[in-house]
Amino acid sequence: MTRLRETIDREWLQGRFLVLELAALLDRLDVAAAKNESAVRTDRRIELLHRALAELAAPSATPNRAERLLELYSELADVHYSAPLSRHRPHHG
């Protein structure tokens, strides 16, 4: 058996499970959005989620999707933590 075939055999069911979980999560967001559309549309996290999905769907020359997604989500961390950091910036002189 080839290594590719072994990997597919081992990972297929879990991949199916994770994609279905993601689909159900998006459905849940749609239901919530139907109730409160403007709030969902403007939430930065939703925008990041859709960018992450686009990243996943794009062809990749190197197997570093997880790394790229974590970098993407770091943008959210920057938004949350930039203010406190700037507030506590040390004074020099």
């Binding site: 069911l13 879990q14 199916r16 499970f17 279905l20 979980e21 159900a24 999560l25 459905d27 849940r28």
Partner: protein
């Protein structure tokens, strides 16, 4: 909280399950006959298996204050062996009058083969002849949609009373056709690869007061009966009240199973303060 665990394979589990389920409010478990993880060769093996789940397991559960009921059947996977299946079916009627046997199950399709269809039909006819409830397994993964359609076609053809049928392991793409046809439907929760708790609660929310039950996978594979408790918790997180939880996790199985008078656990109500 009072919970009925309507699909539980006790023979594959240890008493730790019973103890923890009792602590969590499980008052009854119902054990369908199933595939043991390997294909059996002798009809006598099935007879002893039916004795184990109808005579011995109730005594093990009783030590923890849990009532144990069961179903007897030739399971879908081993139905592929026609000769063996026919011998097992000859032995089934002697178990139906036993005090904790609620009906014939789980029967149905595994890979939607012609042999499976022959034994499925024979067991449905047996159930009609003996006025039994039936529990129907639907195939997992890619065979589920076709298997569910074949199941509904067969039930329609035989004019099996829909209210006496529970079709299990429904998912997003099969739940509506089962409920619309008037059958009871079951959501089976798995820790890996199949129906997850959040997806099950999505379906519960979508279908409201439908004839929809929830059960855990609890067998010899990766599974745990406590996904049912996870589901109670997830429902609470999403705002379900105690009366709604009692309705889903106790009263719905009590109503379906209570069609057999041997299942004497009745639906409960929460009195207004």
């Amino acid at each position: 909280m009072y919970i009925i665990q309507p699909h539980y394979h006790a023979i594959a589990r240890t008493t730790d399950d019973y103890e923890r389920m009792a602590q969590a409010g499980v008052v009854a478990v119902v054990e369908p006959a199933f595939w043991a993880g390997f294909d059996r060769r002798h009809p006598g093996t099935f007879v002893d298996y039916f004795r184990q789940i109808s005579e011995f397991e109730p005594t093990r559960a009783a030590q923890y204050g849990i009532r144990h009921f069961c179903w007897v059947a030739m399971n879908p996977k081993e139905s592929e062996n026609l000769a063996l299946s026919r011998q097992v079916l000859e032995a089934l009627p002697e178990f139906l009058p036993k005090p904790t046997v609620l009906g014939i199950g789980e029967i149905g399709f595994n890979q939607n083969t012609a042999n499976e269809a022959v034994i499925f039909r024979a067991q449905l006819e047996l159930a009609m002849q003996h006025r039994q409830l039936v529990l129907i397994h639907t195939p997992h993964l890619h065979d589920k949609l076709r298997g569910t359609r074949l199941t509904l076609d067969l039930l329609r053809e035989l004019k099996f009373p829909p209210e006496r049928v529970w079709i299990d392991h429904v998912e997003e793409h099969t739940v509506r056709m089962v409920l619309d046809a008037g059958y009871w439907a079951g959501l089976t929760l798995y820790p890996l690869t199949k129906m997850s708790t959040p997806r099950a609660v999505d379906i519960l929310q979508r279908f409201g007061n439908a004839k929809l039950m929830v059960n855990s996978s609890a067998d010899w594979g990766p599974s745990t009966p406590f996904t049912l408790l996870d589901c109670v918790l997830e429902c609470r997180r999403r705002g379900y009240g105690e009366a709604e939880l009692l309705e889903i996790f106790h009263n719905r199985p009590a109503r379906f199973l209570g069609q057999n008078p041997k299942f004497s656990i009745r639906p409960l109500e929460i009195s207004p303060a």
